[in-house]
């Protein structure tokens, strides 16, 4: 067998460049292993004991850095819009084989369970690891299961679109209400007693925002998944 191939100069230069960068970074990092310094996260943990919820990561994502989450929602929204724009003329694959009986029935059986799990992860995001993004992706994976196992399943576009619009508007409106009531955009204007930490209804707007985020992410990911599964006639 002939193992010797022509390795182009592009490969050599790519290898050299990457190795140079990585070795520089490693060199610098290994010389300066950071001692345990006081970072902003520790102060946020202390603040979380008064203002946040049981899951500190959720309170950071939704409340302390909620504006980044709003931006991330905007990114997903624009990406779903772009994918819909690019792949809008494709249709579902006409030559796809019919799935077997077991696959069809089993996936229809599994779908409500996956949905329920997704909704659970979304709603309990402030008490256990999870949250809007995670729950939304779980819901989208349920939709994906149905899309690839059942030929005739189509995500109902109008419903999903309406859900997505409603969720997006409500996130910005929650922020604006915070601005009007508390003079801080995305301020926590619902009651959030420290004594309630660990209960389902704690943390003020945090579970509300995360549910809104979950609905939006779930609907957008379902739309993206459906668009990417389409095929054009010639491809």
């Amino acid at each position: 067998m002939n193992f010797k191939r022509d390795i182009s100069t592009r490969t050599y230069s790519g290898f050299a460049l990457s190795a140079l960068l990585v070795l520089t970074i490693l060199n610098v990092m290994l010389q300066n292993i950071p001692a345990h310094i006081e970072r902003a996260g520790d102060q946020l943990l202390a603040l979380n004991a008064q203002e946040g919820v049981a899951n500190a990561v959720t309170s950071v994502v939704v409340y302390f850095r909620g504006f980044d989450t709003l931006g991330e929602i905007a990114v997903l929204f624009i990406a779903a819009l772009g994918i819909g724009l690019m792949l809008s003329e494709h249709t579902k694959d006409p030559h796809h084989e019919e799935s077997s009986f077991i696959l069809q029935k089993a996936s229809k059986l599994l779908f409500p369970i996956i949905m329920l799990f997704g909704v659970y992860v979304m709603i309990y995001g402030h008490l256990s690891p999870g949250g809007g993004f995670q729950g939304g992706v779980i819901i989208a994976s349920g939709v994906l299961l149905l899309l690839i196992s059942d030929q005739n399943f189509e995500v109902p576009h109008a419903v999903i679109s309406a859900l997505e619009t409603f969720a997006g508007i409500s996130y910005v409106l929650i922020g604006l209400i915070g601005l009007l009531v508390m003079d801080k955009f995305l301020g926590n204007f619902l009651p959030h007693d420290v004594s309630e930490m660990g209960m389902l209804l704690s943390g003020g707007i945090i579970p509300l925002v995360y549910i809104v985020v979950g609905v939006k992410v779930g609907s957008e990911m379902s739309l993206i998944v459906q668009n990417l599964l389409k095929r054009s006639e010639d491809v």
Binding site: A19, V22, V60, R65, F133
Partner: protein, 130 residues
Amino acid sequence: MFETFISYLNQDATIQAMVDIGSMALFFIGLFGLLTHRHILRIFISVSIMEFAIFLFFIGNTFDKTFTAPILGDGHVAFVAMNDPIPHALVLTAIVIGMAVFALGVSFAIEYYKLTGRTDINDMNEMSES
């Protein structure tokens, strides 16, 4: 002998070094792939690998193994001796953003392939050469 090896591995400095070297090796794979591959989808995958290497590097370097996860439960009732929640939040956001850009890029590539049948970036020269 074995115990001293394990205790050597358990030192903070060794763990830091392993995290750094491991994530940078992954970053190297991604960067090498980005610079040498010609198929557009492989370029996207390489960038994705680079991004995940950075997330690994980030969380690994802000991690203290004597502390626990920043969430109440399993008997914890106070927010003390917990790891930093900010890197987790940042990586959550960055993962979603990276995935969104990747999906968009794939859709561009699909549409381009449908219109011209090309996926090799050296063949993408619709524009007049400068």
